[in-house]
């Protein structure tokens, strides 16, 4: 009976070769990585800071920092997770600068349960896309996520918008897996509660 070859389970990510080449000074290889992740990094920075100019600066700074510290990247995690971590740190630093005297960290807002306990049990009917046009829907989604505390917003962005795994999110934020899960639950429930104000089933005009 012929031996069944099992497929390689640990395929090498294509970024690994690009990172190796970039470490040797190949800027074209690094440019490919920039091209691949610039949209994601910009989106993460904009979600956290809620400010386009800050997001532009952070995207530039994050890639420059990654380029300068490439030797420190050990390859224990994905390059993209490492890059996101740099961008998150830059973004939180930017928020701290903006809100002088007010702390902004991944640890804040965890003590309060406010807003995380479901209170509104209205169904969303018709569905939001039927209820609002694209432009209006975009405004609602931006306004709603803006109202989340930065720590929750950051976890939600990485896990649910960028689709990082719970483990990758934990790694990118320097948090434990249970801490990510707890923040994620509260972030999702708070967003759900706030969106229900717009999307709730109601006879007549939906109440904002």
């Amino acid at each position: 009976m012929p031996a069944i070859q099992s497929p390689a389970t640990d395929e090498i990510h294509p970024d690994v070769a690009l990172v190796e080449r970039a470490k040797q000074g190949d800027t074209a290889a690094f440019e490919k990585l920039v091209r691949q992740y610039e949209r994601q990094i910009f989106r993460v920075a904009q979600h956290i800071t809620q400010n386009r100019e800050d997001a532009e600066d952070i995207t530039q700074d994050a890639f420059l920092k990654a380029y300068e510290k490439l030797d420190q990247f050990q390859g224990n995690s994905k390059f993209s997770t490492w890059l996101v971590r740099i961008a998150v740190n830059e973004s939180l630093m930017r928020l701290r600068k903006r809100k002088t005297g007010k702390t902004v960290s991944m640890d804040e807002d965890v003590q309060t349960e406010d807003g995380s306990i479901p209170r509104d049990f209205a169904e969303w009917r018709p569905n939001p896309e039927q209820l609002y046009g694209q432009h209006e829907l975009g405004d609602i989604l931006r306004k709603t996520i803006q109202g989340l505390p930065p720590g929750f917003r950051t976890v939600f962005t990485l896990r649910d918008v960028e689709n990082l795994s719970t483990e990758e999110t934990a790694e990118a934020l320097g948090l434990s897996v249970p801490a990510v899960k707890s923040r994620l639950l509260r972030a999702r429930l708070q967003l759900r509660e706030r969106l229900t104000r717009y999307f709730r089933q109601k006879n007549g005009v939906p109440k904002p």
């Binding site: 000074g25 800027t27 690094f30 440019e31 920039v34 091209r35 610039e38 949209r39 910009f42 989106r43 904009q46 979600h47 386009r52 997001a55 532009e56 995207t59 530039q60 890639f63 420059l64 380029y67 300068e68 479901p118 049990f121 209205a122 169904e123 969303w124 569905n127 939001p128 829907l137 975009g138 989604l141 931006r142 996520i145 939600f156 649910d160 918008v161 689709n163 719970t166 899960k181 994620l184 639950l185 999702r188 429930l189 967003l191 759900r192 969106l195 229900t196 999307f199």
Partner: protein
């Protein structure tokens, strides 16, 4: 299962990482508790709507300008 127990399982439920015995309890709870059924459905929609809509534009002009600026900085640093 109480509503509080249900909420505590929500993240694992969405991630498909819930223990099979607990999954049966969650499903039974949803069948008998309309509020939790709504929370489950609208939370699922919350995740989907943010995942499906690109809420911040990243126009080509901005992308090219940023890209050029990043590469200029990196080349200057090397």
């Amino acid at each position: 299962m109480t509503c509080t127990d249900f909420l505590s399982q929500l993240t694992d439920y969405f991630d498909g990482q819930i223990d099979p015995a607990l999954l049966a309890e969650v499903q039974a709870h949803i069948c008998e508790c309309h509020h939790c059924e709504v929370v489950l459905d609208t939370t699922r929609q919350t995740i989907a709507i943010y995942r499906e809509h690109e809420i911040y534009e990243f126009p080509t002009e901005l992308r090219e300008r940023l890209h050029a600026a990043i590469m200029t900085k990196c080349r200057g640093a090397s």
